[in-house]
Amino acid sequence: MQNLFNELTALKITGNVSDNCESKTVLEINRQALALRRANPQLRQQKIALPYDNIINFVTELVAFDGWCSAIYLCPPLVKIPENVLLWSKNDQIGADYCEETTGSFSYALTQTSWYLATSGTTGEPKWCEHSFASLSVGIKQSDKLQKLCWGLLYQPFRFAGLQVVLQALLSGAELIDASKGEPRAKLNILQGKSVSAISATPSLWRQLLMTKQLGSLTLKNLTLGGEIVDQVLLDNLKKLFPQAKLRHIYASTEAGLGFVVSDGQAGFPRKWLEQSTHLPVKLKVADNKHLLIKPRHGNAQTMLQIADGQGFIDTFDEVQVTDERVFFLGRATGVINVGGNKVYPEKVEQVLLQCPFIGQAKVYAKKSALMGELVVADVTVIEDANHYSVKQELLKICKTQLLRFEIPTKISIVDNIICEPTGKVNRKLQHG
């Protein structure tokens, strides 16, 4: 059965996993993972939630529990986990010591493990998307060149994009350096110190790294962009700085997994892929409403079966524009706002704004930003006689206590009315003024 531990054990060359303080070889991690299984027989066939601590522990736990537990939930901070799932804590383990090297024979039957990744939902409750090791590693490539890379991890590793970087580095035998915390300059300091040669980041983060003027000090051979719409100016800037490097942008989602990789240096993807996609992990189709539909070739996860149509195509709710040669992404049809790779559901922000007693209606929508892709802005109507300045202060206070920073509207406009659709829903496409 394919699982992370067996795949890593079969590799001829393996790398190291490091953060700013510590470094461990994958061989050491494998040994610790085996010890962890041995110390925790009670977790076999159980569903467990893994809170994120640091990259070395995270990878060790993934290696240990894939094939050991029936399900692993990769938890962002403060996430609510389903009721029948055990929350993993290193203090709970029984039996052998976590770090003790395993000796002697240790036979056991492995199981098929479901991997669950959290994506934020419209109400603020997380939505758990089911994957498997096989479906998550479908896009992983191995070669001598890839084995020599040193990956800088800039995404959070418990998110889909971050996990892809982790798996790519581990399974190709490359080095992995965690630089996912801190502001761009702090990240860059870590990357510079460790001679990183491959980075995957959102377009917003690439822009910020360019703004430091230090990005050129790295010797990058492999640049990957994902999580947001990629524009041509950014691709050209990166190509100019690293003319010899491989520059790719990836289309993927937490729900459906890897879609496809574009490596011709152009924004969007070739139109011919709508007809010829045998080389891609997905089939592609554009619906009459201009939504991109994808049909993954791998993955039978329950989550996907629930959202696929009769032919197995999933509506990505990404709106596209089809030209003679190219298909370009326009934005999310659902109104979901993408702030530097972070999803913001307008409904959630509107519900928070409406808690203010002076507010009649609220409409939250995206404003284009060259730096962050999109920003959150809001229109509100207020009850008569309300002092506009006080209302804005009150709204800000409520938002700061209940929303994440990137969810707080960067601008709140007080308007006379908010246009609704015939269904009574707020029309987010018609913007005031």
Partner: protein, 74 residues
């Protein structure tokens, strides 16, 4: 900048000179995006959208120069 800093609970450094690096002024990347949005409200243009920027500004002087260039073209 002060207004955006307060909104984001950030502390601006003093003094901000022409060669002060933007990412060392005390504002983070989201705050800069907010500053650009706020300046668009006040000035009526966003140079990062209106111009094809071939290099991203690094220092405070470069940031101002991009706005000056865009204002001259208006």
């Amino acid at each position: 900048m002060q207004q955006v800093a307060e909104l984001n609970d950030c502390q601006l450094i003093e003094p901000i000179e022409a060669d002060t690096l933007l990412l060392e002024c005390g504002l983070d990347s989201l705050s800069y995006a907010m500053l650009v949005a706020q300046l668009e409200e006040d000035l009526g243009f966003d140079p990062f959208t209106d111009l094809v920027i071939d290099t991203y500004p690094s220092s405070f002087a470069e940031f101002l120069a991009i706005y000056q260039l865009c204002a001259d073209k208006q």
